[in-house]
Symmetry: C2
Amino acid sequence: MTTQNTQDRLQDSLLQVTHLLEKHRLVETMLHNQANPKQELIESLVHRQHLAELQAMLRRLHPADVAYILEALPLDQRLLIWQQVQAQRGGEILLEVSDAVRESLLEGLSRNELLAVVQQIDTDDLPDVAEQVPADILQEVSQSLNVRERRWLQSSLAYPRDAVGHLMSKGLLTIRDHSSLETVLQELRKREELPDHTDKLFVVDTRHVLKGVLPLHTLLLADPQAQVAEIMAANVVSFTPEEKASDAALAFERYDLVSAPVVDTRGRLVGRLTVDVVMDFIREEAEEEALQRAGLRGEEDLFASVWDSARNRWLWLSINMVTALIASRVIGLFEDTIVRIVALATLMPIVAGIGGNTGNQTTALVIRGLALGQINLGNTGHLLLKELGVSLLNGAVWGSVMGLFAFLLYQSVSMSVVMAAAMLLNLTVAALVGITVPLVLYKLGRDPALGSSVLLTFTTDSMGFLIFLGLATLFLL
Amino acid sequence: MTTQNTQDRLQDSLLQVTHLLEKHRLVETMLHNQANPKQELIESLVHRQHLAELQAMLRRLHPADVAYILEALPLDQRLLIWQQVQAQRGGEILLEVSDAVRESLLEGLSRNELLAVVQQIDTDDLPDVAEQVPADILQEVSQSLNVRERRWLQSSLAYPRDAVGHLMSKGLLTIRDHSSLETVLQELRKREELPDHTDKLFVVDTRHVLKGVLPLHTLLLADPQAQVAEIMAANVVSFTPEEKASDAALAFERYDLVSAPVVDTRGRLVGRLTVDVVMDFIREEAEEEALQRAGLRGEEDLFASVWDSARNRWLWLSINMVTALIASRVIGLFEDTIVRIVALATLMPIVAGIGGNTGNQTTALVIRGLALGQINLGNTGHLLLKELGVSLLNGAVWGSVMGLFAFLLYQSVSMSVVMAAAMLLNLTVAALVGITVPLVLYKLGRDPALGSSVLLTFTTDSMGFLIFLGLATLFLL
């Protein structure tokens, strides 16, 4: 038993792998650079020894750890390691890497290799990788399944990625309510193992309708003579396959669940949701949101090619470019004013920038409230009033500070009043837009995290320039 | 058994509560507005009936659901609900609300109420609320604990909030390796219940050193005659109390853990980490990061007072104001240039803005890579080269687009060349800064999510103005 920090241990493994790869590369370079056949033989032996060492090391690692190493390696080294592991453990490793990295791993495989790797994956897990697997391969693998498994796969794939139906698994243990605990225990003992994360058994009637659950804890502690129906928990948190996974995730957190039944509209048990899948979902959702907010579409492989990376960012850049151009044209309307009072050109980015900053604060709060289900029709009015209050207060305070600053720089009272007024107005605009944009996107069924910041910055920039230069034109010329 | 969506059900509860509160408020207003004693009596009866209805409804709700309702209600309504529940269930509800909301709930309590509420909380959970509880109350509660619990509390509180030691619980079941499964089962049956999330028992020797774990699944399925030592899992993922909780969270996700032992440097079992706590930690960390990136210090209560909210945002605004002022002074250096070519004033925000956008994309990727432990000394070089490549490609493509745009607007070839060159240069600066800033903050032990965006925007703004206006001064005048 080692007490070394798990993350340090992983880093060590990564370093060792990199080290072995380095040696491997050195030998390979030597092999290329000289033609002495005897020397070549020796080198090739050394070479093989390094590979054997590498393979032994990879074998000792958990699939999730191999996945970690693959993600942290630049593309060429990543593919070298992948070659070593894909034939035996490719399936389980594929499940652990991010979508973008999975794509990079599958790209290089031949049709037969692809088929072999995908066939290693359990039917339950196939939906997780389905997006990166070519349709014909998926079709062929699906043909090789038995009828029940094929039907399961098809129905899973039919649910959207963020629905409970996509994430649920079929491995679950059902019992009948009129059995005694003793019988249940005996039945269990006949099995080799229980499905992972089994913390409760599902009690169903003849039509497979869920009646309750029997926690393993109860099974262990209660009198073996007791009937399941007497001691089962009848009040169960359950989900439907159509339910949003993010709602299910909130329920897992709230009620501290390890596993939960998924039932159809008639109450029949159709699957099981487990905490490991939910936790992965939460993490992926949080990461995706963080990346999307910066305009990256979902997961970008840290070591994607320059070309792939650049394209991944173009949509966002082109949208931003259009909004920047529009804001630029707003300034263009006031060219005459700027020529006459050039100080305006130095001050205008402040009004626009601070507006964007305060608006983003409001938006971040609203997006979080929406994600946690804390914002609803009943309280948006309250929220709007509060945020307007905050922006008026901030506008008054920071507008005065900026007005003072403008006065110190340009010794003009009227300029400083225009500055202060523009700050106050733009901060108010920022609060209004910062609340309405995410709410409207949410109502339209769009992801508020994705579009809010562009729309917000666009408004606070354009309006900032318009308000400031407009006021200046009216009162300073 | 209901098949209603869990989140919808919660929303319904919230609406019902709001409805009852509304009725309550109406009656209260009527009571205030008239002095007829008989009428008053009737109203007060109606009033009491509403309260009874409300209390009955709250009693039926899980503490986490009450917490949800408290978080979604504006301050005055929130405190009304809190009054109804605090005496009986305050402790468990306090554990479920966010830090900011907890503060708002505790603020209004008298010393005795505070003491009563905090005493309801299990020692294991006290560290979670300790920050919001006045020190003397915590001291008094701690005095009422027995020696072992008090020592546990003190050691838990001594660990930082983001350390495993702060999150671990003491409720765990230990067994000895020479027992038979039968004995273990008998011992278990003597208990009323097992600690939550017990999916494995911990096998220790006489000195309480961890030797392995016995999963409940094994206990259920294996031959009762077998010895613990024969069938326990000796290779266990364990943590130390000093370890960072975020690293432990990654391990929980990677190895799909439900619970894991925490051991000291000598391998002795000191506590247990469970998936529910880890999941809460992941969620809180993600949310905090999202809010911090927008410059909100940690959790802000959606319905905090205007004053509290405004103050919560001042640090960030004042920092941004300073950087905006500096950028503004950079423009000030080129006032003469702008007076002669006013078009520069309209184009300069584009160069600065797009630089900020691309830099933020790089930063978001780097922050994610750091959080997942995928970035290390060995691959930062690769990453830097890749991001520079992306920025050169993007700079060439979008620089040309912007150059063309500048030409169309102002019919000047030299202006369009200056625009394109400035874009290319500022995008390169953005990539360099976008990588180095989060890496340096991380090396310094600071949170890269917190400071990166200010520093980045500051650089891309100032450098954008400097490069564009500088090139214009050199080549266009």
